[in-house]
Symmetry: C2
Subunit: 189 residues, 2 copies
């Protein structure tokens, strides 16, 4: 039987990413997000929902660049830490010992421990309420060589991504289970 629940954000499972940003003096910060999605194929575009009162929201607005680093189960503790602290108070790279490495086209660094690094330039900010939506164009991508398959294609599974599931005030980190099928066409209907 279906029962009614209060309106709430229940679009899960969702990705877990570490978004890197810099302040106007070049100091980097890390923010853990799960409200993030690919939105458009051409040009390649993503959207991220960022707390409107957060420190990182101010930085993204100032510098208009960010890098989406796909989090992995190997750095779950660091990922949690970056989601529970503010860059206003702590140096998250120093505290987590995650390693900043240069990006190709933007100023915020990529995170070495994340196998996929997606560099974005802000196209637009949309005010929504508790969160602001930043729409970003993907302008460069770096990946670790060791997540490529024999054809040189990304095997996302090798990046050991974290999967987030939620529901009202609860959230859980999971890993991938088994492959159930393959999809090779991007048709939308």
């Amino acid at each position: 039987m279906k029962i009614e629940k209060l309106p709430s954000t229940l679009v899960y499972p969702s990705p877990v990413v570490l978004v890197t940003v810099i302040d106007s003096r070049g100091k980097a910060n890390i923010i853990t997000l799960t409200w993030v999605a690919n939105l458009c194929h051409e040009p390649p575009t993503v959207g991220i929902g960022v707390g409107s009162k957060s420190y990182s929201r101010i930085l993204i607005e100032e510098t208009k660049e960010f890098v989406i680093n796909i989090a992995s189960t190997k750095i779950l503790k660091e990922t949690e830490f970056c989601g529970k602290t503010s860059g206003k108070d702590v140096d998250k790279f120093a505290m987590t010992k995650l390693t900043p490495v240069p990006s190709i086209k933007v100023k915020p660094p990529a995170i070495k421990e994340c196998s996929i690094n997606i560099e974005c330039k802000v196209l637009q900010k949309i005010k929504m309420g508790s969160h602001d939506l930043f729409i970003g164009e993907i302008i460069a991508v770096q990946v670790d060589e060791d997540i490529l398959d024999e054809k040189g294609e990304i095997d996302f599974h090798k990046a050991m991504p974290i999967v987030y599931i939620g529901g009202y005030d609860l959230g859980e980190y999971w890993n991938l289970g088994e492959r159930m099928g393959k999809y090779e066409m991007y048709t939308r209907s």
Copy 2:
């Protein structure tokens, strides 16, 4: 070693949802999407990226309502079918035998076989290129009683959600593996 790849939408793992819409005569259609995310906590808001040339894009624009039904591994075949066909050509409810049930506040039906049904009203459309972004406010939610835990909270895991991972032209459906940790606070930093 990190190597450069072409800019591409690589924000995964992502959810797999069946979005229901209706046409002006009340006929329902189903579209499979994976480019969808929670975006804002208050008001509860989601975003979906929909192919700008797709039939469903026209319907959402006309009726300004949609329901996000979380797909499950139990209906993987039906989910794939709805992603590979157009509602212009086929009646997807008839072809898949998925069951439309009434929504609480919007006209498009919920899908009975999906344990979580999220009713949305379009707030805004953003043109991006190959895809349009619809930002929707969640105005009602229905869930199956049997995915609730003993406290009456949603146990998302019981909905048997599908997890999508991709990379350039490839995409794969996975299920959830093991729970790695818990997160009980929505602080963003």
